[in-house]
């Protein structure tokens, strides 16, 4: 009998979370945003998401099996998640070949070249997106108009997003922004990337992830608070420099970025202090790019820049050691 007993060091108990339960938890949290997207963009949202997930999984499998010669880890769900997040950052009427290139860059370049899950320095989906933004600026910045394009895919009628009106430049007609109600932005009835439009759905997803302890509040809250404070300050000082901060908070990829992209485990800091610094950094960079940069949206760049700083943040901002807290 005693020969059958297993010996191992403690602990002999294990929590329930696994890599795949966490990844599928994030996917669950993305469901509301996806449903809103299906409602507004219809068939295009479905096709783009399926194409993106399909190619991400395929490339991960091919690279793991034939180039790295390791066991492909498709079941952990991380390639699926990268695919969904990449799709959420694309216009829903984008050509599937462009999506394929994005998936190749995201999985092939940003993830697998670094050694696969856990090793990458930059958020794969965002690397994919930014690569496409630079390579296909035209296709990446024309967004289909919501609702009326439900049954159109590549032939969708395109329109501007609120972000286009938000530059503090005289040639831009800010009055166009008046046509967009913040409540539409909350519900997602505006032009924009596939998954970024419905602020409400993204917030629901974020609350779910915090409740399930998939993420902590630090990163999303610090990003959103920084953007809110920074844009409010500029707006109060000079309203021609900056539109109503509400548009900044609800528009563009801010919420998708703050809740789902910046919180990517692999590329964000470890300690709570580090997460706050990282979040503040993303918030500041986003506003700076949005107000003074040449791109209409700065979220992706801000997150990637802070990804690069993450190892330094991890080195500098350690958790508080027990016994070093000031107590009575």
């Amino acid at each position: 009998m005693s020969n059958l007993l297993t010996i191992s060091p403690s602990p002999h108990a294990k929590g329930k979370e696994t890599v795949s339960s966490l990844m599928f938890g994030v996917l669950m949290a993305l469901v509301p945003a996806f449903l809103f997207s299906l409602y507004f963009f219809g068939i295009g949202a479905l096709i783009t998401t399926l194409v993106s997930v399909g190619f991400c999984v395929l490339f991960e499998w091919l690279i793991a099996k034939y180039i790295l010669k390791t066991k492909p880890q498709i079941c952990d769900g991380s390639a699926i998640l990268t695919g969904v997040l990449l799709a959420f950052n694309l216009p829903s009427n984008i050509n599937p070949f462009i999506v394929m290139i994005g998936a190749l860059v995201a999985i092939g370049v940003a993830k697998m070249t670094f050694g696969g899950l856990g090793q990458n320095l930059f958020n794969p989906a965002l690397v994919g997106r930014v690569f496409l933004l630079i390579s296909f600026p035209q296709q990446m910045t024309t967004w289909p108009k919501p609702i009326e394009n439900r049954l159109n895919y590549l032939d969708a009628v395109t329109g501007a997003t609120p972000m286009s009106f938000m530059k503090p430049r005289p040639e831009i007609d800010h009055s166009a922004l008046d046509a967009i109600q913040p409540v539409d932005m909350l519900m997602g009835a505006m032009g924009g990337s596939l998954g970024e439009i419905a602020a409400l759905a993204l917030i629901i997803g974020g609350i779910y992830m915090i409740w399930r302890k998939i993420i902590t509040w630090h990163i999303p809250v610090s990003i959103i608070a920084t953007v809110a404070i920074f844009t409010s300050l500029v707006w109060l000082i000079d309203p021609t420099m900056c539109v109503n901060p509400l548009y900044h908070l609800l528009g563009g990829g801010l919420l998708l970025g703050a809740i789902f992209m910046a919180t990517d485990y692999v590329t964000s800091p470890m300690s709570d202090k580090g997460k706050l610094i990282y979040g503040v950094g993303i918030g500041l960079l986003t506003v700076i790019i949005r107000l003074w940069g040449s791109y209409p949206e700065g979220m992706s760049f801000a997150i990637l820049l802070m990804n690069a700083v993450t190892p330094l943040i991890n080195k500098k901002f350690k958790p508080t050691r027990f016994g070093e807290t000031k107590t009575k």
Binding site: H12, G15, S21, L22, T327
Partner: protein
């Protein structure tokens, strides 16, 4: 800060303490405590009685060891204990159950502690070989000898029992509440302070209610209900939970923040030693497991082989694939039924196949769950990586020696990484390096 919430599975909470029949032979190891092993003072062929001294403490951090049975010393030789190492032990063949005459076996509770001086109490504790019975087995006398220039201002009784499954302390509180209270008074007197707190987690409402009622008659003793969290039973975390003070990093000790912490079972042992003249030769052990037939709490003589305990609960279930001495978070997996119950054996746990094995380790996804879970404010992901690379200077700089091996990091890790294995390896090496530096 930190901590995890394992399922508490206190399936034996309602099972009264049952005395286990005295076995036919016992093997009493002479190193059942932290510090120097005791020196064996009996020889093969000697007759011994229950409670008779058989091994003497050597040095300051050490503890006396007494016979738990009456009979003849059959042999003196090595026995494997829960650590997996062999220790010198006294093997005794049991003949009858004859107790040393000086032990007061009456059921009366003795309450008068007024004539006792602190030194009397400390000496008695030392003579009786009392060590921390929560599992750490640190000699209690050493804790009670408050160093020059330091002052104890509160005694904390650790009745948290935050390890899943274990209920030994819970039953002791319910069945030996008066003794616990008097033992606590003795501890207060020994360290010359006038207040004590009994910290109990809220999953033991009956114990909280009962002891709160009793404490009305014992001025200075307060029962503190605590929120559930592992590892709240860690000395430092209990002090923080009750007094709001953090013990500074090593080499600082609880006494540096004015606290003396003793386990509930230890407090009862102190009462028995001082008031009843009874040395520490038996203890309460929880024998349990999800598929065990009749799990329960037993009063067991030290040195009893674990096989006797397993028999008492209806044998080892068919599906058992792991046998643990202690709880599932910090207990030790054992592979022999001949291992004797020692002073620090709080439980025997039989885990079925589904809980016995670790998951396949996957890549670290840098989720930071180990950092969030670490109750010491360390970075387990980093420390395990540094230990793997044998970068001992970096390990020391990142405070590996603060680690209390509670296992929260591995419990929380979604990738099943053997974080604590690496950290324990690194900690051992770094401690050795620090020791060699002092020489």
């Amino acid at each position: 800060m930190g901590g995890v919430h394992p399922a508490d599975k206190k399936i034996t909470a309602a099972k009264p303490i049952t005395p286990l029949a005295v076995p036919q032979t016992v093997a009493i190891p002479c190193a059942m405590h932290i510090g120097a092993p005791a020196e064996i003072i009996v020889q093969k062929g000697d007759k011994v009685k229950v409670g008779q001294l058989i091994a003497k403490a050597t040095g300051f951090v050490s503890a006396n060891i007494h016979s738990s049975v009456s009979g003849t010393v059959k042999n003196i030789g090595p026995v494997a204990d829960a650590s997996g190492y062999t220790k010198q032990a006294v093997f005794i063949t049991v003949e009858g159950d004859e107790w040393d005459e000086s032990i007061d076996r009456s059921p009366d509770i003795k309450r008068n502690i007024d004539d006792l001086k602190p030194e009397d109490i400390i000496n008695k504790v030392h003579e009786a070989g009392i060590v921390g019975m929560g599992g750490a087995t640190f000699p209690t006398r050493v804790k009670l000898m408050v160093p020059e220039g330091k002052k104890a201002d509160a005694v904390l009784i650790n009745a948290v029992e935050c390890e899943p499954y274990l209920t030994a302390d819970h039953r002791v509180m319910l069945e030996k509440g008066e003794e616990l209270m008097i033992g606590t008074q003795l501890l207060m007197k020994a360290v010359k302070c006038d207040r004590a707190y009994i910290g109990i987690e809220q999953n033991k409402p009956d114990a909280i209610e009962y002891l709160t009622k009793l404490s009305a008659n014992y001025p200075g003793i307060t029962v503190v209900p605590l929120k559930l969290k592992y590892p709240q039973g860690s000395e430092k975390h209990l002090i923080k939970a009750i007094l709001g003070r953090e013990v500074p990093p090593p080499p600082h000790l609880p006494i540096d923040v004015g606290a003396v912490v003793d386990n509930a079972g230890t407090a009862v042992a102190v009462y028995e030693a001082v008031m009843k003249n009874k040395p520490l030769f038996e203890r309460v052990v929880t024998v349990t497991g999800d598929s065990v037939k009749n799990p329960g709490n037993f009063l067991v003589r030290i040195g009893t082989p674990i096989s006797a305990l397993i028999e008492a609960v209806g044998g080892m279930p068919e599906d058992t694939e792991k046998l643990i001495s202690g709880g599932p978070m910090m207990g030790k997996a054992i592979n022999s039924l001949e291992i004797p119950v020692a002073k620090g054996t709080s439980g025997i746990l039989m885990l079925p196949k589904s809980l016995a094995h670790r998951g396949e380790p996957a890549a670290c996804i840098r989720c930071g769950k180990c950092v969030d879970a670490c109750p010491m404010g360390l970075e387990p992901y980093l420390l395990s990586k540094l230990a793997k690379l044998k970068r001992f200077d970096d390990l020391e700089a990142n405070h590996i020696t603060d680690c209390i091996s509670c296992g929260c990091c591995m419990f929380a890790c979604p990738s099943n990484r053997p974080i604590l294995d690496y950290m324990n390896f690194g900690k051992g090496k770094v401690m050795a390096i620090i020791r060699s530096r002092k020489k």
